[in-house]
């Protein structure tokens, strides 16, 4: 894609995708609240700039692995909103035909290898995708999104080291929202700067304001360039915050109202609007229209999904294995 401030189209894209994520999440919360959705939900409201900035540095062929909190990654990479909502509603046209739900949405066409219910589970998979890219000389990069909490899993460690020693075209993108469920980074780490983790692997670690889509894009693009030049992986630590609880059952006992309020003032969306207007790439009116576009797109996706046919249990047994073709 390119730099969010490189043209009006780019600015529009950045803003539109952040709004799409925000409005998607709000719609999901609403559908859950109304009892129309099943299971649990992990919302990324407040974190929209990170996936948007990262994915603006990628092509459709570049791959990502995502997390339990993956709606933003999926949207930023370009997935179809209707098929996403439909999946959450257990519909046949959903990305997984209703078999996966929120935690397993993948979209092959846009290079999304899938959300993952396992914390850290996607990191070795992204290393493998990067290995394939290198072996097949595809020239693509694989980005693994994960949270601060995931960095304490063995999966992070083993994958980071593989990426480092094999100089894989990979980006380890940590959305550091300060908590792994109720565990603050202060409790879960004995280092102040999570980027220091890179030092143990020989991987450069970069910190960035994860609520600044422009800054995220810039470090992301540098990491992509580095990866595509064969220089190996980069660890990006994007500082951000989730406004909502970890999931539906969260009573927010482990953090203060003040902290949440303070982070709400660091909303990535108005921050970018100000930059875009200042740079004369967008007007306030255009910005409002973009917001409206996002709202309409989500509404349409919800409407279409609600009407869509429910997934049916028949055929489940045949869906376990891909058929062997001779």
């Amino acid at each position: 894609m390119g730099h969010p401030l490189s043209s009006p189209e780019h600015a529009r894209h950045a803003l539109l995708y952040m709004w799409r994520i925000r409005k998607f999440e709000e719609a999901v919360e609403d559908l859950f609240g109304r009892g129309m959705m099943h299971g649990t939900m992990h919302l990324s409201i407040g974190q929209e700039a990170a996936p948007t900035g990262m994915c603006m540095a990628l092509t459709l062929q570049d791959q990502i692995t995502s997390t339990h909190r993956g709606h933003g990654h999926c949207i930023a990479k370009g997935a179809d909103l209707t098929r996403m909502i439909a999946e959450l509603l257990g519909k046949k046209i959903g990305y997984c035909g209703g078999r996966g739900g929120s935690m397993h949405i993948a979209d092959v066409e846009t290079g999304n290898l899938g959300a993952n219910g396992v914390v850290g589970g996607g990191i070795p998979i992204a290393a493998g995708a990067a290995l394939a890219s290198k072996m097949m000389k595809r020239g693509t990069v694989a980005v693994s999104f994960f949270g601060d909490g995931a960095m304490n899993e063995g999966a992070f460690h083993e994958a980071a080291n593989l990426a480092a020693i094999w100089k894989l075209p990979m980006i380890l993108f940590c959305e550091n929202n300060g908590y792994g469920m109720s565990s603050s980074t202060a409790k879960a780490f004995a280092i102040d700067d999570l980027a220091d983790r890179g030092k143990g692997y020989g991987i450069p670690g970069v910190n960035v304001d994860g609520n600044d889509v422009v800054a995220v894009y810039e470090v992301a693009q540098a990491a992509v360039d580095r990866a595509k030049a064969g220089e190996g992986p980069t660890l990006i630590i994007a500082e951000t915050y989730r406004w909502k609880g970890h999931s539906r059952s969260d009573k927010n006992l482990y953090r203060t109202k003040e902290e949440i309020e303070e982070w709400r003032t660091k909303d990535p969306i108005p921050k970018f609007i100000a930059r875009a207007i200042e740079a004369k790439l967008l007007t306030q009116e255009q910005c409002d229209a973009i917001q409206n576009d996002a709202i309409e797109a989500i509404k349409a996706a919800v409407n279409e999904s609600v009407k869509a046919e429910a997934a049916e249990p028949s055929g489940l047994l045949d869906a376990v294995f891909k058929a062997v073709t001779a």
Partner: protein, 332 residues
Amino acid sequence: MSDRMLTMAEAVREAMSIAFDERPEVFLLGEDVGIYGGAFGVSGDMYHRYGAERVLDTPIAELGIVGAAVGAALSGMRPIVEIQFSDFTAQAMDQIANQAAKIHFMLGGALHVPMVLRTPQGSGTGAAAQHSQNLEPWFASVPGLKVVVPSNPADAKGLLLAAIDDPNPVIFLEHKLLYKIPGRDPVPEGATRIPLGVSKVVREGKDLTIVATGIMVNKSYEVAEKLAAEGISITLIDPRTISPLDMQPVFESVEKTGRLLVVQEGPAQAGFINEVIAQMAGSSSFGSLIAPIKRLAGMNIPIPYAPQLEKAAVPQIEDIESAAREIVKNWR
């Protein structure tokens, strides 16, 4: 006996609290067991009652925390480690199966591992394939682990107290749908233990023996009550600990009923319940069987997300009912 009706979450918390009060070496560690109270609210207020040292929040690192529990157990403590979903024991299988299970034997008895690993399992919450498994075969097939699958709050409390006392590693598999519902029976006050390795005959009948585990005990019970009205009389046996497995009541029952139905939630293929079948098929009670042994279990598929699919994937009351009816009708 008191008439306190607790949920399984409450009963488990009560057992842990009693053990905490009895022995200073008992402690709980796991992800979000502290101020959050546990992902399913099982530890609840224990953090406030016992403090951060005994209700120890950990980073997200299942292999490390189970290993730390093993090391602490070797060194005089009695850890209870909570894994947030049993699916994530996958991360810790080395410490569970290669270390905890084998240390006592492999070291010639020099050391032992008094550790309890508690973890919620099972489907029904819409959490899809990576958060809904019943992994009993992984544990029951490893010599050196004791495996408990409680089906109700009263048993959960008594069995957990026994598990904490046990000098060996115990895997304690709690079905998450049972957490919030009270059992049929009241939960006794105090430190009443239920020994591991003793099956419970939940009800007696003469036409059919059902062996069921975990949440399937409740479903089978409903079926048994319902079919009683139709004149089909069912013995229901809940092994409670699937390793070691107490088959004696099953043999005795089948000698009377001649018919056996085994029910579990997890997938049929290589499922734990096959152990019951294998022991039955190889026993001297084999000759009493007048019908093939019927196995009712989850489909051989990962648990799907959408509610209508998820339901189809595991045995429902109607499935048990029709299986029971069919055996009794078809084999006379």
